[in-house]
Amino acid sequence: MATASLPIRQEPRISAGLPRVGEFMRWSVDHKIIGVQYMVVALSFFFIGGILAMLMRWELLTPDVDFFGDGAVYNSAMTMHGTIMIFLWVIPMIGAMGNYVVPLQIGARDMAFPWLNAFAFWIIPPAGILMLLGWLVGPAEAGWTSYPPLSLLGHDGQLLWAVSLHLLGISSILGAINFIVTILNMRPEGMPLFRMPLLCWAVLATALIIVLATPFLAGALTLLILDMVAGTSFFIAAQGGDVLLWQNVFWFYSHPAVYIMVLPSMGIISEVLSVHSRKPVFGYRMIALSSMSIALVGFTVWAHHMFTSLTPELRIPFMITSMIIAVPTGIKIFSWLATIWGGKIHFTSAMNFALGFLSLFLIGGLTGVIVGSVPVDIHLHDTYFVVSHFHFTLYGGGVMGLFAGVYHWWPKITGRMLNEGLGRWHFWLTFIGFLWTFLPQQIAGMMGMPRRVATYDPSLLIYNQLSSLGAFVLGASALFFFYNLGWSLARGRVAGGNPWRALTLEWATTSPPPPLNFYEDPVPYPNPYGYGSDAAREYLDEQQRRFPAALEAPTDEGSTSASLATQPAGTSAGSSAGTSAGQQQ
């Protein structure tokens, strides 16, 4: 490892080179390695969760139980799908983005507590395996919300589910502490809080929710586990417990948790929209502060998941808070629209996914307002309308944002561009497949199709078949994504330090960055989103010179670090992105 005092060198640098594969498979305290580890684990679980979704949609092609043979098998697939997608894909993926990008964006050498960072990551794989092992002992079947009494009747898998979730919760608390300290303490001079990139604001808000809410999950799970193994009866009404207790405590965590899942994506698209439309962010302060207020108001809405079981007097207050949370969200949406308005929009894959986020998350948010009003929710509760609503927010919001982030930062992480052609296929199949899958579910839901069952009324056949077909398209879209990742590693064009000509600090170094990230003390550009000015152009030109994609003439000095550039650069498909990106500004 290099020492803290790196020599200042002004020659062009190509790349610090990717670490060897072995580095990623063992304990490491480098935030960049840990970020990649998070990402690989999360993507693997995304794949597993996706296969389960495909199987469920296959089952739902017909009104009867046939493919799974038994409704209980459907229920276990549904439970595992939901849990994996939330706790082993979206949340670890936030760990991935946050770990890789946040320290770079604030010009830090690493996270505040590198060891703790690695520890938090290494809890996840065993916890994930524990969850999957449930299949050997009779899997969990009670849905990702695991309401008692159902969750107390189940098999041992339900216990493994609870233990695994407990571990994942601890991991995310430890990770969040690290994020907060890093962001608050380790910014360089010249970067006050309100000059910080918006992704950092989003991660900060997310981390605050995690440290305040996740302990409630820990508490609820502990009591559930005690009910299972120690003969207590917190949730067993017949023995003096209270089933609604679980719902209260669980949702006090889990509703804030849905903002855990979407806030980082909001941060990602704030970056992407501004960079790829070459315009300053509109309403920087409002976007930053609305993240915080979403985090805050998010704590007051939990009981809207329980409208049907709540004491009637409490319904209206929770309805009001639920509506209030639409306000900061609306502020963000309008700010984003104003950001791209009149900009030089480059329809890169990252930008496409960010625009996809805008439109799909908008529908997610609006359906949220619909189910947030009590009279409508009494009708729609536990129907496919809800399934559609939360997929619009989680997939159309969270996951689209994560995809945008992957397309945006992959060049930084690997030093190679992704294939824009494949990226467009991925985007359009996802976008069309998504609407195709989840719009019919809205109709089915309004017609009363209950969620979480493998059977349905034959009159709903057409909606379900449509939905299933769409789901297969959606499934296929992911294959393009995975193929693209592999393609880029093998043949992608060399990215250079700053392929998108972005102003934030993560681009002011080579791709991938060296250990300890920077070649000298990083000096942030005064306005992280000051695109379009002459000063910014000069700054970026200088950066382009210092961290180019390839050297014009090979020098002795650069021979080791330029190794990536000497390999054959990507061919036709990849270069289209490069030329358009090179022309930006």
Binding site: M186, P215, A218, F234, L245
Partner: protein, 194 residues
């Protein structure tokens, strides 16, 4: 292993910008951890409240709560906290080592008394076999005891070699013991008074 204590020297003296940052990070990190972890105690208090709603009599009328022993235990805990703090204060004095040890040991002893009393409460006190009241009572006291034991053990480890360079270990132990005390105050109020 035992490092000598240089009298008269403040026990945290960051040498460089990096060490300063590291110290700042540790403090903030510990603070956030404490706030976060305190939420688990608040969660259990909320659980207690929600459960008691359905009961006309809570605690069940068969038992009378003995508030004397827990109150004594609370005072002991407070005393031990104060002793820890004053022990830390002596570290800069000339005969640092001796008086530090004396006070720290005493603090641990009082902490141990607290643990003993509460362990007796846990096993014996307001018990009605098979009631939810007992379940919650035990979960809360047991959860707190577990923390007191682990953190108390850390405090004993600090004692093995108190040194000025190790200022952080002492500071952290004290802050964690603060945590034990505040967490206990919440539970004490919820379990015995409210």
């Amino acid at each position: 292993m035992t490092k000598t204590l240089a009298p008269g020297k403040p026990y945290t003296e960051p040498a460089s910008r990096q060490e300063l940052l590291a110290a700042k990070n540790r403090r903030l990190g510990l603070l956030i951890f404490q706030v976060s972890w305190m939420m688990t105690f608040i969660c259990l208090s909320v659980v207690n409240w929600q459960l008691r709603w359905q009961y006309a009599d809570w605690p069940p009328s068969e038992i009378t709560l003995n508030r004397i022993f827990p109150s004594i235990a609370t005072l002991l805990l407070l005393a031990s906290l104060l002793l820890f703090r004053s022990a830390r204060g002596t570290l800069t004095a000339v005969d640092a080592r001796v008086s530090f040890r004396r006070r720290w040991w005493l603090g641990i002893a009082l902490g141990f008394l607290f643990v003993t009393i509460m362990a007796v409460e846990f096993f014996r006190a307001p018990m009605l076999v098979g009631t939810t009241y007992r379940d919650v009572f035990r979960v809360m006291t047991g959860f707190h005891l577990a923390h007191a034991l682990v953190i108390g053990w850390l405090a004993i480890r600090v004692l093995r070699n108190p040194s000025p360079e190790d200022g952080w270990a002492i500071e952290a132990a004290i802050k964690l013991w603060d945590f034990v005390f505040i967490a206990w105050l919440i539970f004490y109020a919820v379990l015995y008074w409210i």
